[in-house]
Amino acid sequence: MEELYSFTENLTDWQERLLLKGIHKFDRQDLQELKKLQELATEYDMSFLASLIEDLQVEGNRYLQEVKADAELLTQQYLYVVQYVNMMKKPMTRSL
């Protein structure tokens, strides 16, 4: 349970770091972190989340490789992950 908690914390931390620096600055290091998070998600049997993170990596990769890539799909995929994680956390952190 504690490990799971720290996993969601790590995921949230990464999300918040990206919010701070901006999606336009998405880089290789983000890809690496996502890869690690995806593996952990699989390990905890959260296959849907893992697939969401995987899609996010695909979009991230595309964004980094295409010269004139726009960030729309990357943004959308990022927000899907954010929403999903928030949904997971809701029962634990609901407060006034």
Binding site: L19, L20, G22, L79, Y80, V82, Q83, N86, S95
Partner: protein
């Protein structure tokens, strides 16, 4: 020719006193009769579809077999005494001539069945979409309608004190309403639909379909999406404060485009970002991120959806519209002050509507993050009600009133409309009211969960609990909440909490120290459910009421 003559005679036969007074007015009618009785004579000359009437006072007027078509040599452009005299004189002097016609006319009975034969498409064409929407909303409310059949079918809406008369000619445009508005007014539509409903004709679905042309601004949705993408793209670290102005402009565009839901979302983001720029302690990255993602994904959903009804739901345009309700009988349930993370402050007043057994709210709120805008709970509470300024909001929150011409939306929020009038009536004992579903009797079951969003304060789940007694009142240091344990007749207990807020600290201390709560028996509590917590707003017994945060 012969045809027109009998048509004209039939028309004349219809023109009894009542009919003429309705079309002209009593004054003109009486004057006309008087003048005629002084010894006026008239000669008639029939044309193809008209009769030329030469009056002995030298005026000449022309009549058709239709009360709306006439002309006269006198300057009046409305129905004049000459026209009336010509009609009445003909009826008295010429109509009885043919016995056959008279007999036929005596059995002639006006027929109003055309009102029931109208097609919904015909009705929707005669009125504007706004009128249709307004009246479809009103049909949910009870209205006493009186129906009288003479040579007219006259329907009177009792609470609105409005009468509409139809004749047997099948045209909505020819009906008359006492509101005297030009063209087809709301009342005509309302009586037609109520009359048809009484005859088991259900038009709602078809009419509803004709008003669901979603007039939403695609541009606003696209712009909102791209602005959020821009915020996320640049990142908070480099974000310029000018984004606030752009959000505000967009919120205004959303407001003008009738996209209240989008407007609210944009203002919510604006509020969170304001906290960020102010380095406010209440700022939370998590909350901002949650909001950005929810709004962005819902905007994507709006773009994708084809179904107009669902689109309207998402845009919120359907929900926020205010409609006039002729009369509401409201029993005040107390008031609750609140403050949101996005920087809104306000007081929400709760009422129980005796006729439709639902809770209505009225909210007074301000965005306090703007410079120069402040909101004082006390000033707002002591301020006058918006409807006629008879009493203060504080008095209203302890009263029982009747609102006429009240404006409300589908979420039973009342607007501060200037047309609304308030009448104070003696307050009933809460014990004697039929509280319907608003009173939650079964404490053991789980209550329906509603999203407890800090930003959606007015639409929350609020209900009444009847408590046998208070078991415990104590302040919990850890959560900074005052905890009240109540018990019902079956000895089920529930915990209510009042969260500590600086401004209300005094009230909370008072509640904690005062042992009076523990002595109370059989009280009613208005309770708000947010998440899993139950938060009491007011306590009631007999005619008395105390709002926890405002009255102590």
């Amino acid at each position: 020719m012969a045809d027109f003559t009998s048509e004209f005679q039939r028309f004349i036969a219809l023109c009894n006193e009542e009919y003429l007074i309705k079309y002209a007015n009593k004054g003109i009618y009486n004057r006309s009769i008087k003048e005629m009785e002084k010894g006026m004579t008239i000669s008639y000359e029939f044309g193809d579809d008209y009769v030329e009437c030469a009056l002995s006072d030298d005026s000449v007027c022309r009549l058709h077999a239709d009360i709306n078509r006439f002309s006269c040599s006198c300057p009046s452009d409305k129905i004049c005494k000459h026209v009336i005299i010509s009609i009445v004189y003909y009826a008295q002097n010429h109509l009885q001539a043919g016995a056959e016609t008279a007999e036929e006319l005596a059995t002639y009975k006006p027929d109003f069945s055309w009102l029931l034969q109208l097609q919904p498409t015909h009705i929707s064409k005669a009125f504007t979409p706004a009128q249709l929407e307004e009246v479809l909303f009103r049909l949910d409310y009870l209205e006493e309608m009186e129906i009288v059949e003479t040579s007219f079918l006259t329907m009177t809406l009792r609470t609105q004190d409005i009468s509409v008369s139809f004749d047997s000619e099948s045209e909505i445009g020819k009906s008359m309403c006492t509101c005297k508005a030009k063209g087809n007014c709301l009342h005509k539509l309302e009586v037609i639909l109520r009359y048809r409903a009484m005859h088991q004709l259900q038009d709602r679905e078809q009419l509803q379909a004709s008003v669901t042309d979603v007039s939403y601004e695609t541009d606003v949705v696209a712009e909102a999406k791209s602005l959020i993408a821009e915020i996320l793209g640049i990142g908070l670290a480099k974000l310029s404060q000018t984004i606030c102005t752009r959000l505000e402009l967009l919120a205004i565009a959303a407001h003008n485009g009738n996209l209240p839901r989008v407007e609210k979302d944009i203002r919510g983001i604006h509020g969170e970002l304001n906290l960020f720029f102010q380095r406010h302690v209440k700022f939370s990255t998590e909350a901002l991120l949650d909001r950005l993602s929810r709004v962005y994904l819902s905007l994507i959903a709006i773009e994708k959806i084809d179904h107009t009804e669902a689109k309207k739901q998402l845009l919120g345009s359907f929900k926020s519209k205010y409609h006039m309700v002729p009369q509401l009988s409201l029993y005040a349930l107390g008031a609750n002050p609140w403050e949101t993370r996005s920087g809104y402050k306000g007081i929400t007043y709760y009422f129980y509507s005796l006729s439709d057994q639902r809770i209505y709210t009225y909210t007074e709120a301000r965005p306090v993050y703007y410079e120069g805008i402040s909101f004082s709970f006390k000033d707002s509470y002591k301020g006058k009600v918006p409807w006629g300024e008879l009493i203060s909001m504080e008095e209203l929150s302890h009263s029982q009133v009747i609102l006429t011409q009240a404006k409300t939306n589908r979420e039973q929020r009342l607007s501060s409309s200037e047309d609304t009038r308030l009448t104070i009536v003696p307050r009933d004992n809460i014990e004697e009211l039929d509280l319907g579903k608003v009173l939650v009797g079964d404490w053991s079951s789980d209550w329906k969960d509603t999203a407890g969003d800090m930003f959606e304060t007015a639409l929350d789940s609020v209900f009444i609990l009847k408590a046998n007694k208070f078991n415990q009142v104590e302040f919990d240091q850890k959560t900074q909440q005052l905890l009240l344990t109540i018990e019902d007749e079956q000895c089920h207990s529930r915990q209510l909490s009042i969260s500590y807020q600086g401004e209300f600290a005094r009230n909370i201390r008072h509640l904690e120290q005062n042992k009076r709560l523990l002595e109370l028996r059989d009280v009613y509590l208005l309770v708000q459910k947010i998440g899993d917590g139950l938060y009491p707003i007011s306590i009631m017994q007999g005619k008395s009421l105390t709002s926890f945060k405002l009255d102590l």
